[in-house]
Structures are given as C-alpha cells and as structure tokens.
C-alpha cells in the first residue's frame, strides 16, 4: 500500500500550486488527476493574468487579490508570463460614468493605471475601433496556463512530491469520522490502487461537488460555462478589455502567435459534455467585433469551453454567473461536517491560484502541526536556464526554434541539446506551427522528464504541438509515430491514440461553420477519416 501524508485531488493550477507549497514546507503529498494536468478549467480559460481591473468596480476585494498576485506570478514564473500589459477601452456606446468610476476605484486600491487619449490608444493598438473615446492602461498579462501548472508540478516533484495523471478517485476512505486514504483507478490501464493518508484536499474545480460526495459532504457549486474562440493572429499587442460592467466577449488576450476572445457565461449542469451553439459563437464574434473590428475577418482556429466552478453558499443561490463572487472559499469539513482530514478549496480564478494554495496549505500545516511559513511568493518556480546549453542550441537549431524551446524547457533545454548532439536527426522540426523538434517530442514521451506525456494531447499540453493552424493534422501523425518508435505505445495503441486525438481536435473545430479553418478540418477528415472509417462511425454527428 502506498502511503503519504496528504492526497490532493485535481491537477489544475490550484492542485499543482498546493503540491508545490506542501513540498516547500516539507509535507509529503501525492496529487491525483483523473485526466491530464491542466485539463479542466485551468486549460480552458483565457490565460489572462488579471491586473484586477476586471473586478475593480464590483468586487474591490477580489481586485486587490489580483493586484497582489499579478506581481507575484510575474516574479516567480517569468517563463510562463508574457507581460503584454493591458488596456481598458472606452467605447462610444458604453456608459461614461463607469469609466470614471473604474479609474477612481483603481486609484483607491493601488492598481496602477494611466489615462490615454483616443489617439494614444490607437497609436498603441491600431486595431481598436477608430471612434473610441480613450483608454486606461493596466498590468494585465498573458500566462501560459499549461506551463504554469506543469512548472508547479515539476518543481514539487524535484522536492520529492508525487503525482499521478489519468487516475480517478473512486472512494475516499473514512473511518471514525477521519480520513484514512483514497482508492483510485488508473483510467488508461484499469489498475486500481489505494493511498493511505492523513488528509485529502479536494481541489477538483468543476468536479469538486462530485469529489465531496465521496466524503459524504455537500459542496454546492454553480458550473458557469465560458466559451472562447482562438483566432489565428495576434490582433492586439496587449490584453484588450472593454471598460464596462463585465459582460460577454469583452476580453481579447494575445497568446503567443494567436489571440483568444471570450467569454460567454451560461449556467450548465456540470463540467462534462459541454456543447457550443452557433448562436453563442456568433454572439461572441459580434461582440468581439465591436471591440476589435478586424476580428470579423480573422480565422477561428478552434472553439472551446470551460466551466467556472463558482461556490454558491446556500444563502446566495439566486445569483447569476457573473454576480457570484470570483473569490475563493476554503472549506474545513472537520469544522463544517465533522469529517476530520478533509478540506475543499473551491471558486477563485487562475490569477489567484497561488493565494488559494497558500491558504489551503496554511490550514493543512496548522492541522498537521507543521510550523513552516509559506514561501511560494518568493521562491522562483524554475531554475535559470543553462547558458552553455543555450549557446550550443543556437549552433544546432534555427533561432525561432531555440527561442521557443528555451521558453518551454528552461533548464531542461540542456537535455534536448545533448540528445541532438548524439543524434543529429532529432533536430527535425515536427510541429511547424509551434516549432517543436523531434528531440523535444522524444523528451516529453521519455522517462527522463518528470512530467511524461501519456497521450498525444498530453504532448500538446507540454509542448504546444498541434495548437497551431493545422490543429495536429500533420504533426499529430508524426507524434503518433514518435510514440511508437520510442516504444511508448505499440502499433495498436498508437493507432488508437491517434484516432482519439483526431476526434478531440475535430470536435473543437466542428462548430466553426465558415472560413479557412473549415477547409483545414476537411483536409484532416479526408486524409484520415477514410482510414479510420470516421465518416461511417460519426455520420450524423457532423455539423454543416
């Protein structure tokens, strides 16, 4: 039987942050994730590192948390952050009283903002509508959610923590009102296991209600679906917010070579089986076009939805999705429900994941009698890269490939470099959109990494392979072959992997009803659909 002190359920940013915090305080822990890391709400959001401007008028407390965390994340995880800055744009059709209220609220909580004239704003962001009244600056940034989650895990693992992906918790073992352990099932192999522990932390996001049920307690959540569109260009250099009461499609985040528009806000029954209607997409595009007119002609690469798991204490259950606090709730079920050793952390948002982890681990440490203070606000999430390896990389790979690999791999770049030195054919670029080399692909599939990829989609979350315009049509096939060649999968497994991967990629494109991406989707269908008989199997599921 495996044993540890703390089991964390949920491999999103919060769970990963908790694992890292626990490891820094010397508390042994194992994290269990039912799919892959950052697969839930973490991997299905804007990737916006909020400055706080979004919440400043309505919820000064949440905004203040963002102001503080924004600074901290930029400090501890610079490799995950693209510090673009942001604008709050004053659109002609919006309420001018709100603009002033917004600016005054920022001053009140110490959110740094400058007032820009319309000309100044247009000089910085030429794709804004020409009739805007002005704009305010703010320290919004883009954060790579996958990198951030993976870096927390990787750092924790380096300090002895453990994690298991594709392991679904089947039962929480409670005896005499006290947590004894958890039983889990590996969803890829079907194997079952048991981990004995003193405490269980429920950080399952949209699945937190279900996990709490395993411990016999109630955690009322509202699942609020947000749909986002990925567009094939950066239409802005900065995060563009519409300066008004938060609403749909009023944030555009530049994310590497693409940009992300969102979101909608629709209450759904649960975090699984999310669908997107054509009306919802058109609604987002129409509103987005008001903010950035060039969006009307952009190519939509992909459409995806995530759920905000909003905590709804019974007294507040009448409120709509945007009215419920973005603050988080830490539930000590020993105090609330007499279940000793069980804690839930719910609500909150990506920007405050570290603060949520800190609060959670403070409580855990107190209960376990550990007297070590939190240091996650000052300890860097990743060691500096190896200058010698970087110099060598420049000799072996083209410049843009090195830049991307360095940002993704940091100190692990040295491993790629030595692999290419030993086998020059590994320099081949497999994913041409995100510039992923065969060396990097073999690294994430291999045993040397502490974050091994188990599926082709996992490779994407580690390297961004397949995230570009081809959506895995070409590189997905090559990634499958790499998995086969490195003996990660036998031929049947590799083939099944690829079929699942295509299915997932196609789903994210199937609700796009026009433009170049439809041609891309049909190319993928025509290349592989025949071989997998997709057209027979999925007839009737396809959209127009």
């Amino acid at each position: 039987m495996e044993k540890t002190q703390v089991v964390i359920i949920g491999g999103g940013a919060t769970g990963a942050g908790i694992l890292w915090d626990l490891s820094l305080r010397g508390i042994p822990a194992i994290l269990l994730e039912q799919r892959d890391l950052a697969n839930g709400a973490t991997g299905r959001c804007h990737g916006l590192l909020h400055s706080g401007g979004r919440y400043v008028v309505k919820d000064a407390h949440a905004a203040q948390e963002c102001v503080a965390e924004n600074k901290i994340i930029k400090h501890i995880a610079p490799h995950c952050v693209h510090d673009t800055g942001g604008l709050f744009v004053q659109c002609r059709q919006d309420d001018p009283a709100f603009f002033e209220q917004w600016y005054e609220s920022c001053i009140k909580i110490g959110l740094p903002s400058d007032r820009l004239s319309a000309d100044e704003a247009l000089g910085m962001e030429p794709n804004l509508p020409t009739d805007i009244l002005g704009a305010f600056t703010c320290p919004d940034a883009h954060v790579d959610v996958f990198q951030l989650t993976l870096s927390n895990i990787e750092s924790a693992v380096a300090r002895g923590a453990q994690f298991k992906t594709y392991c679904e918790v089947k039962a929480i073992d409670i005896a005499g009102g006290k947590v004894k352990g958890v039983r889990y099932r590996d969803t890829l192999t079907g194997d079952e296991g048991y981990i004995g522990c003193e405490m269980v932390i429920n950080a399952a996001g949209g699945w937190a209600e279900k996990v709490a049920e395993l411990a016999g307690v109630e955690v009322p959540l509202r699942c609020d679906k947000g749909t986002l569109l990925i567009l094939n260009h950066r239409l802005s250099s900065r995060v563009i917010n519409r300066c008004r009461k938060p609403g749909d499609a009023d944030i555009l985040v530049p994310a590497g070579p693409v940009c992300i528009l969102g979101t909608s806000s629709i209450t759904v029954p649960g975090p699984e089986g999310l669908t997107v209607s054509q009306e919802e997409i058109q609604h987002l595009i129409d509103l987005g076009t008001e903010l950035v007119p060039a969006l009307a002609n952009a190519r939509v690469l992909r459409i995806f939805s995530g759920v905000r798991p909003l905590y709804v204490p019974k007294s507040a259950s009448g409120a709509g999705g945007r009215e419920i606090s973005r603050g988080f709730a830490l539930l000590d079920h020993e105090a609330l429900n007499n279940v000793k050793g069980f804690i839930s952390i719910v609500g909150g948002k990506l920007t405050t994941y570290r603060m949520m982890a800190q609060a959670t681990v403070n409580l855990v440490a107190e209960k376990l009698g550990v007297n070590v203070p939190c240091t996650t606000h000052e300890v860097l999430l990743r060691q500096a890269h190896d200058e010698a390896a970087l110099r060598k990389a420049h000799k072996l790979l083209p410049l843009p490939v090195v830049e991307k690999a360095d940002k993704r791999l940091g100190p692990n770049l040295a491993k790629i470099v030595s692999a290419i030195e030993a086998r020059p054919e590994l320099a081949e670029v497999i994913c041409e959109c995100e510039l992923v080399t065969r060396a990097e692909l073999e690294y994430v599939l291999g045993t040397e990494t502490s974050l091994p990829a188990k599926t082709i989609a996992d490779i994407g979350r580690r390297t961004r392979l397949g995230f570009g315009p081809c959506q895995g049509t070409f590189c997905g096939y090559k990634a499958m072959l790499a998995g086969f060649q490195t003996h990660r999968w036998n031929a049947a497994e590799a083939s099944a992997q690829f079929e699942r991967y295509l299915d997932e990629r196609w789903k994210g494109q199937s609700s796009i009803n026009q433009g170049k991406q439809v041609e891309q989707l049909y190319l993928s269908h025509d290349l592989f659909g025949v071989a997998y008989n997709f057209h027979d199997k999925k007839a009737g599921e396809e959209g127009a």
Partner: protein, 374 residues
C-alpha cells in the same frame, strides 16, 4: 509561322473555361477538348491531387446513375493515354493499404496502387527509408497484419528498411526522392539495388510514394520487371508524390490535346450579365486577366460557393447552378465535382468528380449526355 507560334497569338476567348484542376476539372476539360472545343483550364494549383492518389470509391453510390459507366470508361481511357492508367471498375472492390496500416476500399486506382490488395499466402514487404521520418514501416506492417487478419486474408507483412543517399545539406523527403527518381538514373539504380534483396523474398513491396513526380507506366513497371516483384506506393502526408505525378501526367496529356492552362491564379470574379456567363477575371499580378468564353464549368472544390454570390445554390438536371427560387444563375454555366458535395457525404468524392466532370464537359460541348442527380 509554325503551329506553336500561331497558338501564342490566339485570343483570350475560348469555347469553354474550366475553373479548377482537380479530378472534376481535368475530366471535364478532357471531355470537352475531345469534342473539339478550345478549352482554357484555370486553377490555383493541382487541386486535391496533392492530398492523395486519386483512388475512386463507388461503394454507397447509386450504380444506376446515368452515364456512370460511360464516365468511368472515359476516365480510364484518359489515364491510360496519360501513362498512369487506372485499374479496376465499377463492379470491383479492392482493399488498398494506407499509411495508417488500415485498408481503404477502392473500385478504381492507379496501377501503382492497385496491386496493394492483400492476397492469400502473399509475402509482403513494407519498406521504409532511413531518415524519412513521416513513414514508419514497422508501424504500417504491424497494423496491416492486424487488419488483414480482420479481413480473413492470409497475407503476411514484414517491415524492412533501406538506405538511400540524400543530397548534402538536406533531409530525406518524399519530394526529394520523387524528383531524383525522375532526373537521376543513378538514383533509380540505387533504389533498385536496395530493393532487390527484399524483392527476392517477397511477391509485393509496399513503399512510401517516391517513384517520381513525372514518371509513367514505363518507368514504374520497368522497375517492377527488374525486381520481379509488384510494387504498391502509398501516398504519404501531403504533398503526395503519387498524386502529384497523376496530376502532372494528366496535365501533359491535356496540353497535348490542346487545353491551355492558366495556373496559379485564383478567380476574382465570374462575369455574369443577363443570365450569361461572359468569362472570368483572374487575380494575376498587376492587373486582373480577363478570359472570355461561350460557356464555363465551375469545378473549384467544396469551398468555392462564394463565386456564385454566397447564396445557397443547387444544380438542375443538367448540372447548371440555380438560385434559391430554382432559376438558372447563368444559362451557360455548369458545376462539377466537390462544389456540389453536401457536407455529410464526403465518400465517393472522386467518383462523383469523374461523373459530374465528364457530364459537365459533354454538356458544355453540346453532347447529349444524361445526368440527373440522385
């Protein structure tokens, strides 16, 4: 003046403009040129040929469709004359391997794929090339064993790898090999030598598509004869060398038949006046090039509805596009190929392309061919 010079000064007015150089466009241009029309073929490039190998599947198709036999016969004859003859026919079904190691059901295929059917007790070698990373013979062979088993065939598949010289400073790629197969006799000899020991122990060799971008029956069957072994080439990830070869051979054949090519330029606009299509404006550098014609066939693929003004359209019984009210958009305008395809019936695409391409070409030439949809 020689004939060639005469052609150069001929006007930009044609009997027929065919837009699109996929299978539908090529077939209709060939059919119309065969009836004596002066044909211009305008296209942005080789259409869907770069994606596959042109295999034709007629399963799930209504075999009773008028002109289907006639169209297939015409297409077989066309490919034969082009030096990349198709084998098979409407009544046939063969199982041809894919790069995923599965079998695709096919009724007609180019001769260099037709031999891929798994036969009882056949010893098949799947040959990879060192450094060619997008094709893995071990993977393909292992999956073919599995799928042949499902089909109840007794053929055995073994994976082999050969090493070919690679031009300095380059990486192995199907285009490079294809090019060298065409131009370099030493490369062909090298390939033959590398395959010979494998051929000695196999009755069929399956290899990634590399046997030339322009080569024909003579070169490929010549190689088979030297090896004493059948060959089956699989189209790889695009660009597909066998598909490009098919296009190049068909283009050469059409040029010999008098078809004039305007390649590389998208159509800016169809010029439709008083319910007649006068011609097209091509998006050529500096200024648009105007070509005029007596009739026009639109074979521009599944995403080109915008050329007809973006309103939904169908075609009437003789392949002429109609608007929502059922009125002809232009009396001398025809549509063929995937532009007609409904989004849910991707299968049978090439068969429909041949059928509608042939019918549209014949109709534009005033021949009494029958075509009715569905």
């Amino acid at each position: 003046m020689t004939r060639r010079q005469v052609r150069k000064v001929r006007s930009n007015h044609f009997d027929l403009i065919v837009a699109g150089a996929g299978i539908a466009g090529i077939t209709s241009a060939a059919a119309a040129a065969g009836r004596g029309l002066r044909v211009a073929l305008v296209s942005t490039g080789p259409g869907s040929f770069v994606l596959g190998a042109g295999c034709v599947e007629v399963q799930n198709m209504d075999r009773g469709m008028p002109s289907l036999d006639e169209a297939m016969g015409f297409f077989r004859n066309l490919t034969e004359l082009a030096g990349c003859g198709f084998r098979g026919g409407l009544g046939e079904v063969r199982y041809i391997p894919t790069i995923l190691g599965s079998f695709q059901t096919v009724s007609l295929a180019p001769f260099y794929m037709w031999s891929g059917e798994p036969e009882a007790a056949a010893q098949v070698a799947v040959v990879g090339i060192k450094g060619l990373s997008s094709f893995d013979s071990n993977f393909v062979a292992e999956r073919l064993v599995y799928h042949a088993g499902l089909l109840g065939r007794g053929s055995t598949y073994v994976a082999r790898e050969i090493e070919l010289s690679i031009a300095e400073g380059t990486v192995a790629g199907t285009l490079q090999f294809g090019n060298r197969f065409d131009r370099d006799a030493r490369f062909r000899a090298e390939l033959c030598d590398a395959l010979r020991p494998i051929a000695a122990k196999a009755s069929l060799i399956i290899l990634p598509g590399i046997l030339g971008l322009k080569s024909g029956q003579e070169e490929i069957e010549g190689l088979e004869k030297e090896l004493g072994c059948l060959l089956c080439e699989l189209p790889t990830l695009p660009p597909s060398v066998p598909g490009m070869r098919l296009f190049n051979r068909l283009e050469a054949r059409l040029r010999r038949a008098g078809v004039e090519f305007f390649t590389g330029f998208p159509i800016q606009k169809l010029q439709i006046e008083n319910a007649r299509c006068k011609g097209v404006l091509l998006d050529t550098p500096a200024r648009p090039l105007r070509l005029s014609s007596e009739s026009l066939i639109l074979a521009t693929g599944p995403f080109s509805g915008r050329l007809l003004g973006n309103h939904s359209f169908g075609v009437n019984g003789d392949l002429r596009p109609v608007d929502a009210t059922g009125a002809l958009i232009a009396e001398n305008l025809y549509a063929a190929g995937a532009i007609l395809r409904s989004s849910s019936s991707a299968r049978g695409g090439n068969a429909m392309a041949i059928l509608t391409g042939y019918a549209a070409g014949m109709l534009a030439a005033g021949a009494g061919v029958q075509y009715a949809q569905g």
